[in-house]
Symmetry: C2
Subunit: 285 residues, 2 copies
């Protein structure tokens, strides 16, 4: 179907005998390097049985796709490699090189069990607890959460507080957030929270203006309301920045950052980068 | 420091000129293959300047680490490769092979810009909206959300409804969830929702019993309460399973699944696997 030479379109297949998260991330990162190419992405995950894998490989061949895969089962890896060789299909085996290196270093063989391993361990509970914490203490719903939180996010409307809280929760951190509104009363717990756990989020007025106009449009309202008024936005931001200075907290301008980038900067700024969740988190391939 | 031969411990460095999400996923997947090895994982992300990169490389060398990296900037890739060669350090360049293959297929050069690209596009708004939706319609808070949702999750307590909702939201899906309690009234919107959008979550009684006892313990309460009573759990599950049958919805037993795995099974069961978010999601490397 795809005539790559003319149309500049590329089909990518993610194949995994597990959830395929690693290969999906890699596909997204690779595609991001080619904003003008028209990509089709297909996922064939949990291909744990020979039949299911063979069907996935046939599908990829028919689409003339490039294949990114994370297959851990020895027998399935061999089937895939034979298929790729026979049909001359591009494939990138993401997992085998680092797994082989660990075997070389330790002399220990990999388990070759696909997918996540531990479900009822302490770490799993912590992650679920962190997610529930984020939902419970979102949007300043209960400032008593500030004192228990690993991270407290402050910010005016549309500085990505909720998505950031959820993203960090997924890394086992308890995150509360408080929207800043110049007229509103600030909860006393704000002053009792360790400023080293607080992150003040800010943004460029023009960008907030654009986001808020867009939001009004999606609500079917006129774009120019007081919510999107640039002078009002400047006042809100100046109120927020004054507060951040008083608190002595870290300040991050999210204007040119994605959620993932902001989250990484928060981990960095709060010295949480090497937080133990990485070594023990529920792993997936 | 590390004496790999004796201690069976391995140090992994994730180095990226972006957020390092892809390499972190790969590190977790690789580590999962060696449950008996003692891993240390360090992340050096946003190494966009030569100084920062060199420091990360020096740190990795000092720890005698294996390096997984996603660096897109040409100049930085060369610095890294020279360093690896000079110091004979194991390294796995995750991004270059698929990026090179796309260039070969299309004849187009990669942008080599690190990190996410589009911030104010439609897709970004959709993701934020989906996350806010999940928080708003979590825990049956407002059944009016059922009709607007892409996915409605049903389940008794401790079947991972909230974390699953958030995980799927991160894939741009609007997810509502409703806890099932035999005594409670079922909202009328449940019967107005397309059963093809509904997923009934269930679990093994013994596992729920274990989870709930553990939860009671973390609350500082006695482990054996009516919440964790096995007969009560059986009744709850039987009530849930009867309801799923009446609704004619997909049923997933989360007993042996991680959140990622359950989420992938939901995408598969609801034919959302090739949902367009993959091709357009805010990409990160």
């Amino acid at each position: 179907m795809t005539t790559n030479e003319q149309k500049k379109c590329v089909t990518i297949f993610v194949i995994s005998d597990s959830a395929g998260e690693t290969a999906s991330k890699l596909a997204a990162a690779s595609m991001a390097q080619y904003p003008t190419v028209d990509f089709s992405l297909f996922r064939r995950t949990f291909a744990k049985e020979e039949d299911k894998l063979r069907k996935a490989l046939e599908d990829a061949k028919r689409e003339n796709a490039m294949v990114l895969h994370t297959i851990v089962n020895d027998h399935l890896v061999k089937i895939a490699n034979d298929f790729f060789e026979e049909h001359n299909l591009y494939h990138f085996d993401i997992l085998t090189p680092p797994v082989a290196e660990i075997e070389r270093l330790t002399g220990i063989a990999p388990t070759r069990e696909p997918g996540a391993l531990h479900h009822l361990n302490e770490n799993y509970f912590k992650r679920i607890e962190a997610m529930e914490f984020a939902v419970k203490y979102d949007d300043g719903k209960d400032p008593r959460g500030f004192l228990e939180a690993d991270v407290l996010l402050l910010g005016v409307s549309r500085t990505s507080k909720t998505p950031l809280s959820l993203f960090l929760a997924n890394k086992n951190l308890k995150v509360a957030n408080l929207p800043l509104i110049p007229e509103a009363h600030l909860p006393k717990q704000l002053w009792e929270t360790n400023p080293k756990k607080i992150v003040g989020l800010t943004n460029d007025p023009d960008i907030l203006n654009g986001i808020r106009k867009e939001r009004m449009r999606t609500y079917g309202l006129p774009a120019d309301t007081s919510y999107s008024d640039i002078e009002k936005i400047r006042k809100e931001l100046s109120f927020a920045n004054d507060l951040y200075e008083k608190l002595g907290c870290v300040v991050i301008n999210v204007a040119s950052l994605s959620i993932e980038e902001t989250a990484s900067m928060i981990l960095n700024a709060l010295n949480l980068e090497d937080h133990s969740y990485y070594a023990t988190e529920s792993p997936e391939a």
